[in-house]
């Protein structure tokens, strides 16, 4: 952390998406181009983390195909693909929201309780009748947005660390859930349950399409809107962003609101599958920690300011495929956690060292740039 962390906040450059290649322009001076080359990682390190995560995903899929084949099943069967994509959709929506929040330098630990709360509100509002769907969905999203708003205000206006703000709000919600709901509550409308089972050609569930739409929308927001660029800038360094004229409160609040709304949509998806609201469905799914793990697995810096939704989707897919193959092999559910933990640490270890922003030095052409200095092993590049 020591050597590399300093580099990230110290370089409040234009909030580009990390996948943008930084090839040398034709008009560039020779000296600058040389330094640029020197600073560029060599060999396999040249891959950016998004490409790497999808390579890992391909590896996981290959292993899964083999393991599923040993069990005498077909990994690419219709039912299996459907199962994987369905599993992806809930965690995926939550992880997209989490990506937004982490990008801006905050964190959302309230996720599981917001999921549970939204299933309860929606199921309670629908009471099993189609006519109640619009109102129930609207109420659910509004409540979630208010929760997100509270967290955003705490983080941005009251300077409460995102970890504490979301943990605190999550605990408050969990106390409310535990006091007022003892068991399952309400019932989903038939329309919603039908939506949970519908899909295209019985391969792609509607839920997954919803995830794709959300991912595309959030990617567009991050790449092409002022809000998106501000999110990156604030995540990189809040003080520098503020001194550069960015109003920091609004992007932070909108990130939290968007996250909570996405989480509520994920709750609605869960409801469409289970049919009843449940006060424990979120905490049983461990969506808080798993979504953060998926985001980090997808190459987003936990400190904020760098990352992409596309990477996150890769991380979510890895989890879904892993879960699926462990389900097919009938691995003990407790051992699943063990494998998951192992995969998280190993996968992140593979590229955590290199997921720090690499870019050529901008000032001072006199001192030589050590390629190793950027990897963080030597301190010379920092100290000089």
């Amino acid at each position: 952390m020591s050597a590399t962390a300093a580099r990230t906040p110290g370089t409040p450059e234009s909030p580009r998406t990390p996948s943008t290649p930084d090839g040398p322009g034709a008009t560039e001076p020779k000296e600058s181009a040389r330094r640029r080359r020197a600073a560029r990682p060599k060999g396999a390190r040249r891959l950016d983390s998004t490409a790497l995560i999808y390579l890992v995903l391909v590896g996981v899929v290959v292993v899964s195909v083999v393991l599923t084949g040993i069990e005498g099943r077909n990994f690419f069967s219709q039912g299996n693909i459907w199962a994987i994509l369905t599993a992806m959709s809930v965690l995926g929506l939550i992880a997209i929201g989490q990506t937004l929040v982490i990008l801006v330098g905050s964190l959302d630990l309230s996720v599981p309780y917001v999921v549970s709360l939204s299933t309860l509100i929606a199921a309670g509002g629908m009471k099993g009748l189609d006519a109640n769907v619009p109102a129930a969905v609207f109420n659910t999203l509004v409540v979630a947005a208010v929760i997100g708003l509270a967290m955003g205000v705490l983080v941005s206006v009251f300077d409460v660390h995102g970890f504490i703000a979301s943990l605190g709000v999550g605990l408050i919600v969990s106390g409310y859930l535990a006091t007022n709901y003892q068991g399952s509550h309400g019932a989903a409308a038939p329309d919603l349950r039908l939506m949970g089972r519908s899909g295209i050609a019985s391969i792609i569930p509607t839920a997954f399409l919803l995830l794709l739409v959300a991912a595309a929308l959030v990617t567009l927001v991050l790449r092409y809107t002022r809000l998106g660029h501000h999110l990156y800038a604030i995540g990189g360094n809040r003080d520098v962003a503020r001194m550069s004229g960015v109003r920091t409160a609004l992007p932070v609040i909108s990130a939290h609101v968007m996250c909570s709304v996405l989480v509520a949509i994920a709750g609605l998806l869960l409801l469409s599958r289970t049919g009843v609201g449940s006060p424990t469905i979120g905490s049983q799914g461990r969506y808080d920690l798993l979504s953060i793990a998926a985001v980090v697995l997808g190459g987003t810096l936990l400190a904020g300011g760098k990352g992409s939704v596309i990477g996150t989707m890769g991380g979510v897919a890895i989890f879904a495929v892993l879960d699926n193959v462990m389900g097919v092999m009938q691995v003990n559910p407790f051992l699943k956690d063990f494998v998951r933990g192992l995969v998280i640490v190993l996968a992140v270890a593979v590229y955590a060292r290199r997921s720090v922003v690499r870019r050529p030095p901008r000032f001072g052409g006199t001192r030589p740039v050590l390629p190793g200095a950027i990897a963080g092993s030597t301190q010379k590049g920092e100290g000089a």
């Binding site: 660390h161 504490i164 605190g168 793990a293 936990l302 933990g341």
Partner: protein, 364 residues
């Protein structure tokens, strides 16, 4: 800081000038000191509701009961003050409890080897967490999340998720028993003795070069590195200390809670809550270890208070959430006030004669 640097003469730092009393008063308005006031207020409130709580035997039993979480909070303090997180604490506690249950069994002679084994496992887990964070440069949140999932999953897998084993009573006495027939207290629980020993050790450790370097590393790892500190090893030691604290908490918990893989569940977040309540800043570099311990005690006192008020126990979480948000929101203001240079011009630096305690007014 700023006042000291603006006048190059030998002006002492604000926190070290004035009489002892002045320093205590000034310390009490920092978040780390305010938690002691909160503790006192809560204590008075609990005694007002339930007068028998204030009697020494009751009180010492309460402290004995809360010793595990206080010790865990002090362990978490090392990690947080160095700018990291340790989420694996609960899983470590569960692991140790299950080991105690299954390895010791009814065999009295295995108590000491078992304690050795548990401490060793604690060191190994801490080492994995620390090296993963420092050398592999994985964020500590992720490393400890990984060890939490892995250890927790492994323990549940090995035990089948149910209570197994029952350690011999001599081992459970560590958490449960105490020295009988003590004059005022009636009984002095071993857990209180262990707690005091851990607290004294922690204070000593934080005043040692290690502690100073740890805080420096948490405040600014780059500056600490440039100043010659081996930040990776300092932080790794903080993780080891955290896991060891979890181990001690686990040993104590065996006496109270019995052997079940869910024993330590939620301890990591409760410890973090306690540390934050103690005014220790997430992100590192600020806070006192005894404030973290006081934060844990205050949290437990608060829960007792709610119990006596017959508030439904399901609201506990909400209260905990509200408290930490308030504590941190207030602390964020207080620390930034303390660090901001005062708007009035600094009084002329005193002549080089050292200020006699009690004679100087000081700028508080």
């Amino acid at each position: 800081m700023s006042t000291a640097t603006s006048s190059p003469t030998t002006r002492p730092l604000p926190l070290t000038e004035g009489s002892f009393l002045q320093r205590v008063v000034r310390g009490a308005v920092t978040p780390g000191g305010a938690v002691f006031i909160l503790l006192a207020v809560l204590f008075v409130a609990v005694v007002a509701v339930n007068p028998s709580f204030g009697e020494p035997p009751q009180l010492i039993r309460f402290i004995g009961r809360t010793a595990p979480i206080v010790i865990a909070a002090m362990g978490q303090y090392y990690v947080i003050v160095s700018g990291e997180f340790d989420l694996s604490m609960g899983a470590v506690i569960a692991t140790q409890v299950v080991i105690a249950g299954n390895y010791i069994g009814e065999d009295e002679s295995r108590v000491l080897p078992a304690i050795g084994l548990m401490l060793l496992i604690g060191v190994v887990v801490g080492l994995v967490n620390g090296l993963g964070t420092t050398l592999l440069k994985v964020p500590s949140f992720i490393v400890t999340l990984g060890t939490m999932l892995a250890l927790g999953g492994l323990v549940r897998f090995l035990t089948g998720g149910a209570a197994t084993g029952n350690p011999v009573d001599t081992f459970r006495e560590i958490g449960r028993g105490g020295i009988q027939d003590v004059p005022v207290l009636e009984v002095l629980p071993y857990s209180v003795i262990i707690l005091v020993a851990v607290a004294a050790g922690s204070v000593w450790l934080m005043r040692s070069p290690f502690g100073r370097t740890l805080i420096a590393a948490g405040d600014n790892p780059d500056a600490a590195t440039l100043a010659g500190a081996h930040v990776w090893w300092i932080k790794t030691r903080a993780f080891i200390l955290s896991s060891l604290s979890a181990t001690v908490a686990g040993i104590l918990l065996v006496g109270y809670a019995g052997v079940h893989p869910s024993v330590g569940a939620g301890y990591e977040f409760q410890a973090i809550t306690a540390v934050v309540l103690g005014g220790v800043v997430l992100g590192g570099g600020r806070g006192w270890v005894l404030s973290a311990a006081a934060g844990a005690l205050a949290l437990e006192l608060l829960f007792s208070f709610l119990n006596f008020q017959e508030v439904e126990s399901t609201w506990r979480n909400s209260v905990q959430g509200l408290i930490i948000i308030l504590a941190v929101a207030v602390a964020a203001r207080a620390w930034s006030l303390g660090r901001r240079p005062s708007s009035r011009p600094a009084p002329p630096a005193p002549p080089s004669t050292p200020a006699r305690p009690g004679t100087e007014t000081g700028d508080n």
